[in-house]
């Protein structure tokens, strides 16, 4: 078909000139920006094992002791990407939002696995690291049991742990957590179907973060490889916006390698065979029965999530044995649920209120 639109060489030349000028200005602006700071909320390491470090975030001094939630919250992040997404910058920080509302926050940072970690599997994460971290939180806080918040893949690990150790988890919270990997809108799992994961892991050992980045970019190649950089030029004069962009850029491409065996098991058992959903998941001979999750559950997902579609998260309600089950659908994407302006307003208060309502110590002051 023909189009009524015709390129006018003069207009095109002018636009090209404007674009080039903007590009020059953009390069100068970018050169002026120093290395961005991320994950700046004050914290201290309270436990370390192999590559993992367990941090405790220092409580907000403005929060009165009686306004604090007694049971500590342990955040189990995914193995993919880095956990500072939860504290990307001071005004976009789920962690700071929780601290302000009296939550005692602990976070597992899995670190950067190397060749020595290639044989780490589900067993290590669910039966060793997670229990050790829970024990460390209990020791540090003096609490018996923890509130466990799992993020994305970390949520799946948390579900497994809570099913094995319900006595140690007072409340289970999951954020953009996949449990049903075979939903029709899940592009990643469709692609994984024909990949020989055994051969992949046997060949590359740990699965390189760069390989996963390429995969994620290929989910929306036009938008993620071209458009977003052009859009950056629109706000290149805005130093704060440029810094925000660079923080996100750093997070996206600061990708740890995935321990080979863990990747192989996760992809085979969960993604390809959907064992968790089918009640057929076993770790080191121990069956994961989500019906043992009888503690209160708060399942949060994002409506525009292209990595973990809502349909992959919501079946959790059918799996668990909890009577007290709540859901929250955030109007945004997989990352927006942590860093968007709306997320700052909505997510930390909801989590804190939900926890406070279930805290054994009656809260004297609502946040």
């Amino acid at each position: 078909m023909t189009s009524p639109f015709e390129f006018d060489p003069q207009v095109l030349a002018q636009e090209a000139e404007r674009f080039a000028a903007r590009l020059r200005a953009g390069m100068e602006s970018l050169a002026r920006v120093a290395e961005v700071q991320i994950g700046t909320a004050p914290k201290e390491a309270v436990y370390a094992e192999d590559k993992l470090v367990l941090y405790r975030y220092l409580p907000e001094p403005d929060v009165q002791p009686e306004a604090r939630i007694a049971t500590p919250l342990l955040i189990c992040y995914a193995l993919v990407n880095r956990p500072y997404m939860l504290d990307l910058q001071p005004d976009r920080s789920l962690i700071r939002g929780l601290l302000k509302r009296g939550v005692d926050v602990y976070l597992i940072d899995w670190g950067y696995p190397d060749g020595a970690d290639r044989y780490l599997g589900f067993e290590d994460y669910v039966l060793r690291y997670l229990p050790n971290c829970v024990a460390a939180v209990e020791r540090t806080s003096g609490s018996q049991g923890v509130n466990l918040l799992g993020v994305c893949q970390g949520g799946t690990l948390s579900v497994c742990y809570a099913a094995l150790h319900p006595e140690r988890v007072r409340n289970l919270l999951t954020m953009v957590t996949p449990v049903d990997f075979r939903t029709p809108d899940n592009l990643l799992t469709k692609w994984a179907e024909h990949v020989d994961v055994d051969a992949l892991v046997a060949t590359v050992g740990n699965v390189p973060g760069t390989m996963l980045n390429a995969l994620f970019l290929s989910l929306m190649p036009f938008r993620l490889t071209v458009h977003k950089y052009l859009a950056l030029l629109d706000q290149i004069e805005d130093a704060a916006a440029v810094e925000n962009f660079l923080r996100m850029e750093k997070w996206i491409f600061d990708s740890p390698d995935q321990p080979g065996e863990m990747f192989r098991q996760f992809m085979t058992w969960l993604v390809k065979e959907n064992r968790l959903m089918r009640g057929a998941l076993e770790i080191a001979g121990r069956r994961i029965d989500p019906r043992r999750i009888t503690m209160p559950v708060f399942n949060m997902y994002a409506l525009q999530d292209h990595l973990v579609p809502p349909a992959a998260s919501t079946p959790l309600r059918t799996l668990v044995g909890a009577v007290d089950y709540s859901e929250y659908a955030f109007a945004g994407g997989h990352i927006g649920i942590y860093v968007s302006g709306a997320a700052q307003r909505e997510v930390p208060p909801r989590i804190a209120e939900w926890l406070r309502a279930r805290d054994p110590r009656p809260a004297r002051r609502r946040s």
Binding site: T2, P4, P9, G145
Partner: protein, 276 residues
């Protein structure tokens, strides 16, 4: 010691004579590949020139217009009339790229295949038997990768073609004007159309199969490369990844045994959490 061969000089002479010289296997294919790459560059440059000429002839009427038309004629544009629709130019460029790429890709695939076939014809005998086998497997994997890469490139080119078709419709429907804002709007629409077309393809079973097959072939190729590298490292008595893997596995097993021994003591220290 070489045995005396009375016919040796005659054969050597025959090899020097161009009319009888047997061409080494793969040489023609390599030359064809080089030609294809040259053609690819030429086609691309011609496409750009055609686009520029088309734009020049659409400049406002007047003396300058005639001059531009003359210039376009002088460049040979008159023999291939410039496209009047910018989307037509885009289609022509994609088509040119598709043709050239298909040719180049096929030539590359052929070279890989010829090399693979040549190695396959080598007898697996003698001290170099294992080395030849590894090389043969490497060549096979390389040929397979080339073929699948070509298939994927064809699919992605088709995405570009359909994106352009959809973009033309959207531009018309949206009544985008010829202005700086219009160009930006076209870019945004192109991204939108591209993602829509790509999503349709990406969700198809055929695409998942093709991508999986290419990924698997790439891993086979890499595994063959690793095997060759390991062989070389062993000859130099240097540590290999296989040896490291063995050590890591042993350390892990030892740690598991240690943890099993320590578990009863840890269990005694544990108290159950109080439920609310």
């Amino acid at each position: 010691m070489a045995q005396a061969d009375p016919d040796r000089h005659e054969r050597a002479h025959a090899q020097e004579a161009p009319e009888h010289a047997p061409r080494p296997a793969g040489l023609e294919e390599a030359e064809a590949l080089g030609r294809k790459w040259l053609e690819l560059g030429q086609v691309w440059l011609q496409g750009l020139a055609q686009s520029a000429a088309g734009s020049a002839t659409r400049a406002p009427a007047g003396p300058a217009d005639e001059g531009a038309a003359d210039a376009a004629d002088a460049q040979g544009a008159s023999t291939t009339p410039p496209a009047t629709d910018p989307f037509e130019v885009g289609r022509a460029l994609i088509e040119a790229w598709r043709t050239a790429w298909a040719g180049t890709g096929a030539a590359q695939a052929t070279v890989s295949q010829v090399f693979s076939d040549w190695l396959a014809s080598m007898p697996l005998l003698g001290p170099a038997r294992e080395q030849t086998r590894l090389l043969r497997e490497l060549a096979e994997a390389q040929a397979e990768c080339r073929r699948l890469e070509q298939e994927l490139a064809a699919v992605l080119l088709q995405v570009q073609t359909e994106t352009l078709e959809r973009l033309a419709e959207r531009v018309q429907a949206a009544g985008v004007t010829n202005s700086a804002e219009g160009y930006r709007r076209i870019h945004d629409l192109w991204v939108e159309c591209g993602e829509q077309v790509y999503a349709q393809v990406a969700h198809s079973e055929a695409y998942a199969r093709l991508q999986g097959a290419l990924g698997n072939a790439t891993m086979r190729l890499r595994a063959r490369q690793q095997a060759l590298l390991e062989q070389a490292l062993k000859q130099l008595d240097l540590p290999t990844r296989s040896e490291l893997n063995t050590l890591h596995r042993q350390v892990r097993e030892l740690r598991q045994k240690l943890a099993a021994l320590e578990a009863p003591r840890a269990g005694v220290r544990r108290r159950p959490a109080k439920q609310t």
